[in-house]
């Protein structure tokens, strides 16, 4: 898809990445205490992060309609959209394991990676374990 580091593709990749990281930091998604409070539905539930999901979905739900009306994206020959339609045990088991892991520490993959910049050793341990976990899944499933 791209062969050079200095390319329009990478320019838009870094802009998109920065918007994402900025959004995570502004919204409080990199704050594990807040994430766990959001998941504490049966305790002192903090609904704040529900607004993150709402904000993201309002924009993307509308904008995706317009984007996907095009034949192809600007810098690529086709939209790389997942084609699988199967609701199988892999999907459900994977999502369940993810939900449990997310709740235990309060990190999902995006915020965990963005939080690496904070320099906490805890974040590094989590991210390394996450990469090992994904490798195990590819190797053995």
């Amino acid at each position: 898809m791209n062969n050079k580091w200095l390319s329009k593709i990478n320019l838009f990749a870094i802009i998109a990445g920065s918007l994402f990281g900025a959004g995570l930091a502004i919204s409080g998604m990199t704050n594990t205490v807040k994430v766990q409070s959001f998941l504490d539905l049966f305790g002192e539930w903090d609904i704040t992060l529900g607004f993150v999901m709402a904000g993201a979905l309002i924009v993307s739900f509308v904008a995706f309609r317009f984007v996907l009306k095009n034949d192809k994206p600007i810098f690529h020959d086709k939209f790389e959209i997942p084609t699988s339609k199967d609701i199988d045990s892999k999907l459900l088991t994977g999502a369940a394991m993810f939900g449990a892991g997310w709740a235990i520490v309060g990190y999902c993959p995006g915020p965990a990676i963005a939080s690496l910049i904070y320099g906490y050793w805890q974040t590094f341990v989590f991210v390394v374990a996450m990469l090992v976990g994904s490798w195990i899944a590819r190797k053995f499933t």
Partner: protein, 141 residues
């Protein structure tokens, strides 16, 4: 509307904008686990935009804390066993289930993908249950 909810909504909006931009320009789904894990897959050849996106993700969060009064959140738990278990579960689960909060929760729902809707309901529900059990029954988080 309270300040904190507005920030969450705006932050979420930026995440939605990021996902839209990535789809419109590169034709890719902004799923952070997919983008990250594929850096470790030999068969994936287009790694440069992924690396650039992740650099943006980290620097976007950094810039927000640098340029705005939004403080860097506290570190997550320092219980190394919880960090490792959670990381392994998140990595394994998102690889097996092909997506995390961003890929399924935002992009997938925006595409009205039944797989992603089911996955999101599953990881949210398990997240709620896990916090309930670990916080209110076992008292470990």
């Amino acid at each position: 509307m309270e300040h904190i909810y507005l920030l969450a909504l705006v932050g979420g909006g930026l995440i939605g904008l990021s996902a839209t931009l990535l789809l419109y320009t590169l034709g890719r789904i902004a799923g952070i686990c997919g983008i990250t894990f594929s850096l470790f897959m030999p068969q994936i050849t287009d790694k440069k935009w992924r690396i650039t996106f992740i650099l943006g993700l980290v620097s976007g969060a950094f810039l927000i804390h640098l340029l705005t009064p939004i403080a860097i959140p506290a570190a997550p738990t320092d219980n190394i066993y919880l960090l490792i278990i959670a990381g392994l579960l998140v990595g394994f689960g998102t690889q097996l289930g092909n997506g995390c909060t961003s890929g399924h929760g935002i992009c997938g729902i925006a595409r009205k993908s039944p797989r992603s809707i089911i996955a999101t309901i599953t990881f949210m529900a398990i997240g709620f249950i896990t916090v309930f059990v670990l916080r209110h029954i076992w008292g470990v988080i």
